[in-house]
């Protein structure tokens, strides 16, 4: 399959009072056409910043993307001028945020907000946009679309708002949909509906999805390809079945182990000991070494590279590289 977006060596830094923080550190991956790629990891490991960097939401002077390229349909998003970028955003790449309650403008009617990208990108007139907007509201499974059209965001529930966000995101039939924890703020039953809806839109519109989540259940349900991030780096990636069946990196294993299983009652749920390291004090080492069960001397002094281990799965861990080093 052809790749739709190819990210090469993406690095994003934030300038804080205490110093420079590298939130995304030489991340490379690709999203193929019609594929769902999931980025998983704990809080603070750079998932959202990766998405923000793709969308150009990292703004100076606070932070900046200081390296790499994001090739989207033949163009480098990081080097496009403002106008071209604007024509791509919302039109070819759309994004859904975590908090539906705060991602809609509180003083604009729902309908107007759906009409906006239709009028801006597809150049529909008001009347056409209105008709299309009502269609979209129906498509995301909301009854009484006419009435919802005229409501304000505070009058709807979180689940409904997230549907509206999806309606806005898919309104221009984007090629890529970036969903940054789209179900985190919703309750479980709504979660399933939202995910189903995303999958439907993906299949009917042939779009790719870059899904960012910390929920492995969501990953299992949605992903074709999984990227595991830790401390701003990719530590493991691979096809979803491969990765779930044969997790290689101790971090991935830990994540999978800490997932509760329905019907299984444990005294205590497994958790990976320790915390994500402070990004200010990172040294030349495997960033996971102080939490790793298999920590070796080499882990403390050198950084493992992301190596292909067969089956398309890539892992950055000395456990697997060491064999080669010694042979």
């Amino acid at each position: 399959m052809k790749h739709l977006m190819k990210i090469e060596g993406l690095s994003t830094v934030f300038h804080t009072e205490e110093g420079k923080v590298t939130a995304v550190d030489h991340v490379s991956f690709q999203v193929r056409e019609g594929e769902t790629v999931c980025i998983v990891g704990e809080s603070g490991c750079g998932k959202s910043v990766t998405a923000m960097s793709i969308m150009g939401l990292v703004e100076a002077p606070g932070g900046q993307v200081n390296g790499g390229q994001i090739d989207f349909a033949g163009e480098d998003l990081l080097r496009l001028d403002k106008n071209t970028l604007r024509a791509i955003r919302g039109n070819e790449i759309a994004m859904i945020f975590q908090e539906p309650m705060s991602s809609l403008n509180p003083v604009m009617k729902i309908g107007e907000q759906i009409m906006e990208p239709l009028m801006v990108h597809l150049k529909l007139n008001k009347k056409q946009a209105r008709i299309r907007a009502i269609e979209l509201i129906t498509q995301v499974g909301i009854a009484r679309p006419e009435q919802i059209f005229g409501s304000y965001p505070h009058e709807l529930s979180g689940g409904m708002l997230q549907r509206i966000m999806i309606a806005i995101a898919v309104s221009c039939s984007p090629k890529l949909l970036i969903a940054d924890e789209p179900t985190t703020a919703l309750d479980v039953t709504i979660q399933a509906q939202i995910l189903d809806m995303l999958r439907e839109f993906k299949e009917s519109g042939g779009m790719s999805i870059l899904l960012i989540t910390h929920d492995l259940g969501v990953v299992a349900e949605m992903a074709d390809y999984v990227i595991v991030m830790y401390s701003g780096q990719i530590v493991e990636e691979g096809g979803v079945v491969e990765l779930f069946n044969h997790p290689k990196h101790p971090y991935t294993r830990g994540l999978l182990k800490s997932k509760p299983v329905v019907g299984q009652r444990l005294e205590e749920l497994y958790s990976i000991p320790g915390q994500v390291p402070n990004p200010l004090t990172l040294e030349q080492s495997c960033y996971f070494h102080d939490r790793c069960e298999h920590c070796m001397p080499v882990c403390r002094s050198r950084q493992p590279r992301l190596e292909e281990l067969g089956g398309g799965q890539k892992t950055a861990c000395w456990l697997y590289e060491e064999a080669e080093v010694h042979v």
């Binding site: 969308m55 150009g56 939401l57 970028l85 604007r86 024509a87 791509i88 955003r89 919302g90 039109n91 759309a94 994004m95 945020f97 908090e99 705060s102 991602s103 809609l104 403008n105 509180p106 003083v107 604009m108 906006e116 990208p117 801006v120 990108h121 009484r144 009435q147 005229g150 409501s151 304000y152 009058e155 966000m165 806005i168």
Partner: protein
């Protein structure tokens, strides 16, 4: 009756309630504030009196009548006559037209300038912000009244025709008033632009102008309404002060301020109180009413205050 139709019947009232707009909700809350409603009543009354009243007055031509100089209130002249025999009530109404127009127009102008510059400064930050806000700071460091006095004195010095003075006074008041508004709007912009819905707007690929005027400014409108209302009161007061000192709108164009000025001597002050009490009371009532109404509006519209 099927279950469906019965359900539909049950849902109906909810549908009605959902339809109420933000505006209607605010109006409802405002109606509960008796004082604010009274204030609004007084404002409406003053406007009606000044703009419609003169049509019913037999003395609207302002003819000088030497036989009726400085007459005390009577049935013929409800509020008496002035030094030139003109009817005070008619004069007060005509003066009110000018004073209220000056207040309203200068408010519109200063809100326009203030909102626009404040929005641009807060949204773009950087150099635009520096230039706009430093100018605003400069204007704010000089107290308003002395600045207006200087402007007024210059107008007199340059012998600006009386007819134009009214418009220039409006402009002067706006120049003094916009920095406060701009500063407020800028502050709001700075916090609003970081909100998630603005990131969503960026992601939608909207133009700056659209983000600014379609997404950000409407969020400031409640605040602007409140500021604008209070601003009218201030502008009316400033205009009166200026005109009282003979630096604002000049006679023969009547304003409340220069009507009081006309009684600015010991004899008139003591012996002909009907010369200055009616315009004075008009200023007092109008400004107080506007401020009370504005405070009521703030209680309703300002989201930062607890309800």
């Amino acid at each position: 009756m099927t279950v469906d139709s019965r359900l539909a019947g049950l849902r109906e009232p909810q549908v009605q309630r959902q339809k109420s707009s933000l505006f209607r909700q605010s109006l409802k809350r405002l109606m509960k504030n008796k004082l604010a409603v009274a204030g609004f009543g007084v404002v409406v009354f003053m406007f009606a009196l000044c703009f419609i009243g003169p049509f019913f007055s037999p003395y609207a031509d302002n003819k000088i009548n030497m036989a009726m100089m400085n007459k005390a209130p009577s049935l013929q002249h409800l509020l008496g006559t002035d030094a030139l025999g003109r009817d005070i009530l008619t004069r007060v109404m005509q003066a009110g037209r000018i004073s209220l127009t000056v207040g309203l127009a200068s408010m519109v102008l200063s809100v326009f300038i203030g909102a626009l510059l404040g929005a641009v400064a807060g949204y773009y930050r950087g150099i635009a912000d520096q230039i706009i806000m430093r100018i605003a700071d400069l204007l704010m460091t000089i107290p308003g009244l002395p600045l207006l006095f200087i402007f007024g004195a210059l107008l007199s010095e340059w012998k600006v025709p009386t007819d134009y003075r009214m418009y220039i006074v409006m402009l002067m008041l706006s120049i003094v008033n916009w920095p406060g508004l701009a500063r407020m709007v800028r502050g709001q912009m700075l916090s609003l632009r970081e909100r998630e819905f603005m990131q969503a707007a960026v992601v939608l690929g909207l133009r700056d102008s659209r983000k600014l005027f379609h997404h950000l400014l409407p969020n400031v409108v409640p605040l602007l309404i409140v500021m604008a209302t209070l601003n009218i009161g201030g502008a009316i007061l400033s205009e009166s002060v200026l005109s009282f000192f003979g630096l604002g709108v000049m006679p023969p164009t009547p304003t409340w301020g220069n009507m009081i000025d006309a009684a600015n001597n010991m004899i008139d002050f003591q012996d002909h109180p009907w010369l200055w009490i009616p315009p004075g009371l008009s200023i007092f009532a109008t400004v107080i009413a506007i401020n009370i109404f504005g405070d009521g509006l703030r209680d309703v519209l300002d989201p930062k205050q607890k309800r």
